[in-house]
Symmetry: C2
Subunit: 397 residues, 2 copies
């Protein structure tokens, strides 16, 4: 087996997928992270006698692999584990230094749904926007609230984010200009593999048959635009300008050791939302602003699990396509330094946070760079990395 | 020129596009309506020396044509007009009886945005749901309110609609079951052609450079699900189970004679939303339930035009892709028999409407069939048809 640094978060217990290209060959294809390298799996599959997998890997998105289904996902992972544990000499020609590859948007996204499943986040937002009244809406504990977002503006980590312009409340009526309350939302996105037909629903227990894996996601939000436009039909331009995702899709198989029981639910749920197994995930996120860690949101505290989100999303018979993405909503824990948005960290802009260079922030300034990373328990006492979603703010055009 | 019935709504002034196949040749390709026939344009382009157009027409969606842009759209339309006015003998071999072709979803939809742009509709909904309070939200007259819908459940006219199941308010807490308030929304959808890059905006006056045409759209809505789930992030499962569209995309070029000034706007608008030309459209819609006309919504009464909707949709820098669709929201006029939803026609279920067979309806029953059609002024005193979007309700599964 090839040697890996003992501290690597990208050992054989992880093996997340990406889509990459190299300068000398711009054809996009599927790769796998191992240590500090990207494994070029197509030639390995070709020479390793896995020709049936080549058509799923020599493609510019993960979608063919997503569509292939759970049996193929398991089979491919078994092959990868074999190859990684096999002779280093066979692997070495196909290991590319991370700096030499370009990582692309891994998935062609069909529909994108964003949920609102952290009770801490929802309560914080309620308190900030409607002080003195009940922070959670009456439906919040009965169903995972969500809405559809824009798929055409989902971009891969590293893409610069242009500060959006738009309408916001002003003293003498609405004003127009670059957003003055540009924010992040640290989230986890789930990538749908197997499709369903219209009229079909996915039960909570069928989650792993339909979901391939997860990636980190930053749901950039212009709070001034959002708060003016959202009544009565929800967020629109305050969100639609950009959503960034990590290039690394971590397969569910790598997250078995991270499964935990979700928090207790009270009041009791309607049967279609009842858990049948532990689908909480002990993911530890980290949000850095200009290199300074401002928050460590714990995903295990989420009220609604991804399995419940998917069951809800399909209970009306809405069909799924390979490449559909649904995200958790902002991940915020109970502590102040566990909040996944600047809205919460600065309490609506009233409590600026201080960065390493002694500068303060309420919302994002031009030139700011945000990076969300994460780790989780892997098998056999290992720890695995969840990739990174990074983006820098450019001034409005 | 081939002879057409004098009363046809599909003469040379119309020429809407579809995607069709025939039983003996399942390959989908672009067609054009003429009289009662579908013109198979691919062989006509091949033999008519328009080989540069063939690759845009011999494809299973309109997307390549949409991406080609305004100049190509105009060029193709000029060719079609030439062919239709040319010798009947040349055309006749390529005319297929409408009954012999199968019509498909004409567009591969990228993102789908649904607006809420009829003042009459928004006021009616406000009065029904919040009696005694101001029916319009404070932002309504300052921006066209909209939200993203689900693209994976957009289906072509004629597709049966399975009654969705979901959560709704109950006496002792939420209940689950088939929707008991299944409704329609008669709308007009606009089909985006030319793409834009992230960070770019489309000014009101650039509308025709980016929009190819329109089709009729039925935004099926489960009112009980919708009203329980929509706070605070807007409609989700109450809408995502199905959206039906007409197979016929009417090009903007066919609607020049239908252009009218929109209603006066008060208060004045921010500059990016100000009209530069008349982009209201004098479309007359008709909603039939089981063959009985229940409403005739006038599109000319819409407060916000499609050009304003597109300018708003992109003002934050959100990019467009060919095949993006944005819809008007329910079209309702000032009169009772001009309302585009059963919610309004039955005033929240309190005033049942009577059909031709003396049966009454508040919301849709299993087996009900809804058809939305429409007409508009065409050039030279003609009248053109806007196609049809039809769907029948099947019982919940």
């Amino acid at each position: 087996m090839i040697e890996l640094p003992g501290s690597t978060l990208f050992g054989a217990a992880n093996l997340p997928y990406c889509v990459f290209s190299v300068p000398r060959d711009p054809r996009r294809r599927v790769g796998v992270a191992i240590g500090d390298h990207v494994l070029d799996v197509v030639p390995l599959a070709e020479s390793g006698g896995a020709t049936e997998l080549v058509s799923l890997l020599a493609t510019p998105t993960l979608n063919p692999l997503l569509a292939a289904g759970r049996r193929t996902w398991t089979e491919l992972r078994e092959r990868l584990v074999e190859w990684v544990h096999g002779p280093a000499d066979a692997l070495r020609p196909h290991l590319l230094a991370a700096d030499d590859v370009r990582l692309h948007l891994p998935v062609e996204v069909g529909d994108y749904v964003d949920f609102y499943s952290s009770e801490h986040h929802a309560r914080n937002v309620g308190r900030i926007f409607r002080p003195g009244s009940e922070p959670l809406s009456p439906n919040w504990k009965h169903l995972p609230i969500g809405y559809h977002g824009r798929t055409g503006t989902i971009v891969v980590s590293g893409t610069d984010i242009v500060r959006p312009k738009g309408q916001r409340r002003g003293e003498g009526g609405p004003e127009f200009g670059p957003s003055t309350r540009l924010d992040i939302e640290a989230e986890v996105g789930f990538v749908v593999g197997t499709s369903t037909r219209v009229g079909e629903s996915v039960a909570v227990g069928e989650f792993a048959e339909h979901v391939f894996g997860m990636f980190l996601l930053n749901d950039w939000s212009a709070r001034d635009i959002q708060s003016w436009e959202s009544t009565p039909l929800g967020p629109f331009l305050g969100k639609s300008f950009a959503t960034s995702v990590s290039p690394w899709v971590v397969p569910l198989d790598a997250l078995e050791a991270a499964r935990v029981a979700p928090p207790p639910r009270d009041p009791p749920l309607l049967p279609y939302l009842c858990d049948v197994d532990e689908r909480g995930l002990d993911l530890e996120l980290e949000v850095a602003l200009n290199g300074h860690v401002v928050s460590r949101p714990p995903f295990a505290t989420m009220y609604w699990t991804a399995a419940q989100q998917l069951a809800h999303l399909t209970v009306n018979g809405a069909s799924l396509r390979p490449g559909d993405v649904f995200a958790s909503g902002t991940v915020s824990g109970p502590e102040k330094d566990q909040r996944g948005s600047l809205l919460e960290l600065s309490w609506g802009g009233s409590e600026p946070i201080t960065l390493a260079d002694e500068s303060t922030r309420t919302f994002l300034e031009d030139g700011d760079e945000v990076a969300i990373t994460g780790t989780a328990p892997g098998t056999a006492g290992t720890r695995i990395g969840l990739g990174e979603v990074r983006g820098r703010i450019l001034p409005s055009r």
